[in-house]
């Protein structure tokens, strides 16, 4: 039986004004387990806390009921007081007689009566409280960043600068991501390579960073502070450690007809290749799908010309397992396929291109060395039509597009239009828009400059049909403000394709038990207050894997994710929330009901040996909750058909006792 002390706070007149505190203290004296009951002006003050501490000693109290303000206000305070008095902090219950009683009821008798009932419920609960100790788990002081675009690079750099080792896993042969493919960046028009490649070098040379390029995460086990991750290093048939990146193999390779992914297939590369000049790591990779040696065993030119002897046709995929304390997802985005939007004739004409292809066409390192030339005939286009929102903002039932706004298209289209007019003032540029969305620092000013200074024709309306005819692209579109249907004979049509999360994100989310929305963007723990954390503890989000973002936003989120990771890795041990679910193994029948409803993947099953009454042993499958992963929602307790699962701090019998006390 507990020895409970009841402390009723006046909160000055806040409580005492509507609740007869003395009467409450008096009434609760007679409740089972209560050995001491008193009231005081300000229980949270030092004097009030001293009163609690001395009473615990004097009456040998084992449990405390504080009738005061909301537990959301001072529960932590009074738990500390209990600890100071030598009690387990979880032997305290608060009866909220301020926010939910004195402040909402006006009459003293009513307030007092309700306060007594709330006090009784708290007493009933404390009677069943048990001391709880938060579990502790060690923290592996190493972070994993999945994805090596600007988001992953920035996160890794920030973590590494704080002194923690970081590994980057990138599935492509080089880090750099989409930003490496861009030409200039809005709204300042500095060149993407000029600001990105130094960062790529920094991260590659950082003593705390390891880069696993051409690699994928294949398995994740464990929980916050203690992840075990398997990384598959794909065979690149080149020894990374000795390849010097001289490029001799690339120039000599006889197979030169492989579509170049980096230029989105607008030119060709060889079967052994370095994606671009500033690639990190700058080593060659053999594309096994196109290498004659690997396919037929007859060639071997690259091996012959390689002075470093780095070519290794026998290389195999390699699996590495490593421990991490935190995981950052930075898997980025891709433009959606234009297959379903052939009213714009993307598949019918090479002169209908996506905006990312346009970036490559204007990039000095691109297929045309930065000259804006039509892919079909290499001529300079005189009329360019930009189409906004292709595949963005579609109906939720649409099988073609995405329901969301892709966010970056308005700005990069303004950039493309402006740069075109700047370099080629003889070119007519039309932008068809539904809305121009420019919320961002210096964004609207940028868009207005495109219109006012550079003379880009912005037309409110949408392109309905593109008809390639001879050398021209006949564009039929509406001009809603002028009430006209326009027919423009364009030379180039640029589609602002919607962006979607990288395809690898879905399987990764499953591995991480991190939740995703219906569009396969990772869900954040709280949309406003915890935007860089996944609801799964220890998993953090950086960049467009969480939602469409431009570069400034991506970088700031990357830094924020790094800060969260550093905060986690700085701890030696993690103290969990002790109010977690736990299963009574003797009652558990191993049905998996709890596992299915757990949003965190905290419940696993293990086969355990049990001694039966007849002294035989039997192996049964029972649920086991990982207290470091469980967040204490209690969903599993209700799903459990046998009543084996219970939630510490909010046990079935405790809540039942509260119900009884209130309904008495």
């Amino acid at each position: 039986m507990q020895r409970i002390g009841v402390f009723v706070c006046w909160c000055g007149s806040n409580i005492a004004g509507t609740v007869d505190v003395a009467a409450v203290a008096d009434a609760l004296k007679n409740e089972p387990g209560v050995v001491f009951s008193t009231d005081y002006q300000y229980m949270c003050s030092q004097a009030g806390q001293d009163l609690i501490v001395s009473s615990v000693k004097e009456y040998s109290l084992t449990g405390l009921v504080i009738c005061s303000c909301s537990p959301r206000m001072h529960e932590v305070t009074f738990r500390k007081t209990a600890a100071a008095a030598g009690l387990n902090p979880y032997m305290v219950e608060i009866a909220n007689i301020r926010e939910q009683c004195s402040w909402v009821h006006k009459e003293m008798p009513i307030g007092t009566e309700k306060a007594i009932i709330l006090g009784k419920a708290a007493v009933a609960k404390v009677n069943l409280n048990a001391p709880l100790t938060p579990g502790e788990s060690p923290v592996t002081k190493r972070a994993l960043v999945i994805g090596g675009g600007i988001a992953g690079i920035q996160t890794a750099l920030d973590i590494a600068d704080a002194g923690f080792p970081v590994d980057i896993v990138e599935k492509k042969p080089t880090i750099g991501g989409k930003m490496a493919q861009l030409d200039k960046t809005f709204p300042t028009l500095d060149c993407a390579a000029c600001i990105l490649t130094p960062k790529m070098v920094d991260v590659a040379q950082h003593e705390n960073v390891r880069i696993f390029s051409y690699s994928e995460v294949t398995d994740v086990k464990g929980f916050i502070g203690n992840f075990d991750v398997t990384i598959k290093k794909n065979a690149r048939y080149v020894n990374e450690d000795i390849c010097t990146g001289c490029g001799d193999c690339v120039t000599k390779c006889p197979q030169k007809k492989v579509p170049n992914e980096f230029n989105l297939g607008m030119d060709n590369r060889s079967a052994i290749y370095i994606p671009f000049a500033q690639a990190v790591p700058k080593v060659a990779t053999i594309d096994p799908a196109h290498c004659t040696m690997l396919k037929t065993g007859k060639c071997g030119v690259c091996s012959k010309v390689c002075k470093a002897k780095a070519i290794d046709y026998t290389q195999k995929d390699e699996y590495i397992t490593e421990k991490y304390g935190a995981i950052v997802v930075a898997t980025g985005f891709d433009p959606i396929s234009m297959d379903k939007f052939d009213e714009f004739a993307y598949s019918q004409s090479p002169d209908v291109i996506t905006s990312l292809e346009f970036e490559r066409l204007t990039n000095a390192a691109g297929p045309t060395a930065g000259k804006l030339l039509r892919p079909s005939d290499g001529e300079h286009p005189q009329k360019i039509v930009f189409v906004q929102c292709v595949g963005s903002r579609c109906d939720s039932c649409s099988e073609k597009g995405k329901e969301y706004c892709s966010k970056i298209c308005c700005m990069y289209t303004a950039k493309h239009a402006m740069l075109t007019r700047d370099k080629y003032p003889d070119t007519e540029v039309y932008v068809f828009y539904i809305d121009v969305r420019t919320p961002g620092k210096n964004f609207d000013e940028f868009y207005r400059r495109a219109v006012e200074e550079y003379g880009v024709h912005y037309i409110k309306g949408m392109v309905g049909k593109v008809t390639p005819e001879g050398k021209k692209l006949m564009v039929r579109a509406s001009d809603l403000l002028d009430g006209k249907q326009l027919n423009i004979d364009a030379d180039l049509v640029v589609l602002a394709a919607a962006i979607e999360p990288d395809k690898s994100a879905r399987s990764l989310a499953t591995m991480l038990t991190a939740s995703m929305d219906t569009n396969d963007f990772f869900t954040e723990a709280h949309p406003k207050l915890r935007p860089v954390e996944s609801p799964t503890a220890g998993v953090f989000l950086s960049g467009t894997c969480q939602g469409p973002k431009d570069i400034p936003e991506t970088v700031s989120q990357a830094g924020a994710a790094a800060a969260k990771v550093i905060g986690l890795l700085a701890k030696d041990k993690l103290k969990g929330n002790p109010c977690v679910a736990s299963s009574d193994e003797l009652m558990c029948n191993g049905c998996s009901s709890c596992e299915k409803v757990c949003p965190y993947g905290a419940i696993t099953y293990e086969d355990k040996e049990f001694r039966m009454p007849d002294r035989t042993t039997r192996i049964r499958r029972v649920a086991s909750v990982n207290p470091a992963v469980c967040q204490g929602c209690g969903c599993c307790t209700v799903a459990c058909p046998s009543g084996a699962m219970d939630l510490r701090g909010f046990m079935n019998e405790q809540i039942m006792a509260e119900v009884d006390a209130i309904c008495k």
């Binding site: 959301r72 909402v104 209700v638």
Partner: protein
Amino acid sequence: MQVKEYKPLIVAFCCNWCSYAGADLAGNNRLNYPAEVKIIRVPCSCRVNPMFILRAFQRGADGVILCGCHPGDCHYTSGNYFTRRRMAMLFSMLDFLGIERERTRVEWVSAAEGAKFAATMTEFAEQVAALGENKRLEDLRCKK
């Protein structure tokens, strides 16, 4: 015997993150609602076992209301979706047992909706009061 004005007894389960905070906000703004409403704090609306609700009716509660975060806003990602389904089942069973639908309710109240909390409780209390005492499920052995 003294004839008292009939006041229903209402148990409100509130999730810690949204609805309990919403109730606190109602207090902060001094928004009155009937004292018959007694709040029990749970971590998440999905912690509420249907047994708790049956127990409340058995012990003489006249109405039970369950409050959680708005769908999609659950602190634990998906708890309130489970709540919604479980309660739909429970309420239809209670309906079958003759406990009027009006005695039970699930309501989404966010931490910012103090006014909604107070208004919901006032309205629910009136609705339950109109039905009168719950005798159907009350366990007479529990009667004093």
